[in-house]
């Protein structure tokens, strides 16, 4: 059984977790070009090595961040998202757009 440590619930079977994609820096959504936004949405870092990822513990719906090696599958560490994200991003539709 592969174990992942949830920052909220402790060590659990990996089958209790859902993978949520790589952690990426989001461009300013108000001033970004379509191409840059497409890149943000569709492209991920593709090196072999340690990657920063979003994961969720499904029974508790708790989202957090994991550092994992994407070839050996070793989970280096996990921590709550607020260690990386200090500020809330609010999406406001531009005036006149529907």
């Amino acid at each position: 059984m592969k174990i992942m440590t949830c920052p909220l619930n402790g060590p659990r079977n990996i089958s209790e977790f859902v993978y949520g994609g790589q952690v990426k820096a989001m461009p300013d959504h108000q001033n970004v070009s379509d191409t840059d936004w497409a890149h943000h949405v569709f492209y991920e870092k593709n090196d072999v090595g340690i990657v920063l990822e979003w994961w969720m513990h499904s029974p508790s719906s708790f989202w957090f961040i994991a550092e994992r090696h994407n070839a050996t599958d070793e989970i280096i560490r996990t921590y709550p998202a607020d260690q990386l994200f200090k500020q809330r991003v609010d999406f406001v539709a531009n005036e006149g757009e529907s």
Binding site: H39, F42, E53, A71
Partner: protein, 415 residues
């Protein structure tokens, strides 16, 4: 028994001096017109069509392991064209047509066997999606129709029509669906290509791509540098890593895909059967083994390890579909690394680097496309970079323009 046979049975002489299927390895030259990275089905098929139909024979296929030892050796050999989008259906139908004549083309038996493929619907939403797929397929001349549970039972009497308490509501019956011997496909293309003068270099890894002024000039390999006018990459699970060496990213994520096969039993199952809700498919090979496959691993990994939880899930679904499979013994289980796009369509054609062409994003569904990929990639090279119409929808630039070709629904449950 003919006496001739008996004579050879007790003699030490082999009846005739058989030519080797592949020429012995040679020195790697310093210059080729075309270098193909990856000696899987796609790589050798491209070399074959280049040499045989376009007279371009100064070609080297560079393979880091052995011929067809990547996903070509690991796939479950489902060949079908019942996709959802017109672009997809047109493309895969052409591939099925090429497959139908491939044994003749090679004068080598690829054991192509058109048994039909059946996908089961267990929800109303899936029935609606199947109806759409059947209509799109019929429109483009494919043999696909929606059938009711009675017909399903008639086609596959051994199937449980209520697997995991998910009653079968309908089936998408694709009578063109087929399977073939995957190794033979790679060998047939490799033999044909080398007979025309193409060089296949196994145990030759490409370690870097040489680019100058935005144009490819060659590759670095574990056996020295090679200059090339044109370079094509066809490396499946390693596509994004290879493109990075050429200097550009690809919108791919590498996921393991697992499968397994049981010991052989007498033939009892003709069609390939797949359940959309259980994410599992079961088929019997010509040798009698039961092949079991399903969805990808739940998270990305550059590693072809297999895992017990996924195997348990697959087996329990297969046993739900065919309960007596619980009596069978497993023979082998394995995984391959698949290069997944977000729209479940491939990435083919031009790249940001001049004369560097890509055949990638083949994910969990590229075996069936081997012939048409070889043919269209060869056309692309031979025409000096004019992208054939059939593969234009699969260009890399579609991601920048949000013009994806969404085949997720038609791919995720059965490859």
């Amino acid at each position: 028994m003919p006496f001739g046979l008996l004579k050879y049975g007790i003699s030490n002489d082999y009846p005739f001096e058989k030519e080797a299927d592949l020429p012995l390895p040679t020195e790697l030259k310093r210059q080729y017109d075309v270098v193909i990275i990856g000696g899987g089905g796609h790589g050798v098929a491209t070399a074959y069509y280049l040499a045989k139909y376009h007279g371009i024979t100064n070609v080297a296929v560079l393979e880091k392991g052995y011929l067809g030892g990547g996903n070509t050796a690991r796939n479950t050999a489902v060949i079908r064209s019942n996709y959802l989008t017109p672009e997809g259906v047109k493309f895969y139908s052409e591939s099925v047509k090429l497959y139908e004549n491939l044994s003749n083309e090679f004068d080598f038996n690829i054991m192509y066997s058109q048994r039909g493929q059946l996908t089961l619907a267990h929800t109303d939403a899936t029935v609606r999606a199947f109806r759409q797929r059947a209509e799109v397929n019929k429109h483009f001349g494919g043999g696909t129709e929606l059938i009711d549970p009675r017909d399903v039972a008639e086609l596959v009497p051994t199937l449980n029509l209520n697997p995991a308490n998910l009653p079968v509501l309908a089936g998408l019956w694709h009578k063109d669906g087929a399977t073939a011997r995957h190794d033979a496909v790679a060998w047939g293309y490799a033999r044909g290509a080398t007979q025309c003068g193409v060089e296949l270099h196994q145990v030759t890894e490409v370690t870097d791509v040489l680019v100058s002024n935005g144009r490819v000039t060659g590759v670095k390999t574990t056996r020295g540098d090679v200059n090339a006018g044109v370079v094509i990459q066809a490396v499946a699970g390693h596509s994004a890593l290879m493109a990075q060496k050429a200097g550009f990213p690809l919108p791919l994520v590498a996921y393991p895909l697992q499968a397994m096969v049981t010991l052989p039993v007498k033939p009892f199952l003709t069609p390939l059967v797949s359940s959309s809700a259980l994410h599992c498919y079961v088929q019997q090979t010509s040798r009698g083994e039961m092949v079991i496959g399903g969805g990808s691993d739940p998270y990305p990994l550059y590693n072809s390890r297999a895992s017990l939880p996924l195997k348990e899930g697959l087996i329990s679904s297969a046993v739900e579909m065919f309960p007596f499979l619980s009596e069978m013994r497993l023979l082998r289980q394995w995984a391959g690394i698949t290069d997944m796009t977000s729209d479940y369509s491939p990435i083919m054609g031009l790249s940001p680097v001049e004369n560097y062409y890509i055949d990638a994003g083949w994910g969990t569904w590229g075996f069936k496309a081997t012939p048409i990929c070889g043919k269209t990639m060869a056309e692309l090279v031979a025409s000096g970079g004019k992208v054939p119409e059939l593969i234009q929808p699969f260009e890399l630039a579609r991601f920048d323009r949000f013009k994806q070709v969404n085949e997720m629904g038609a791919t995720a449950a059965s490859h």
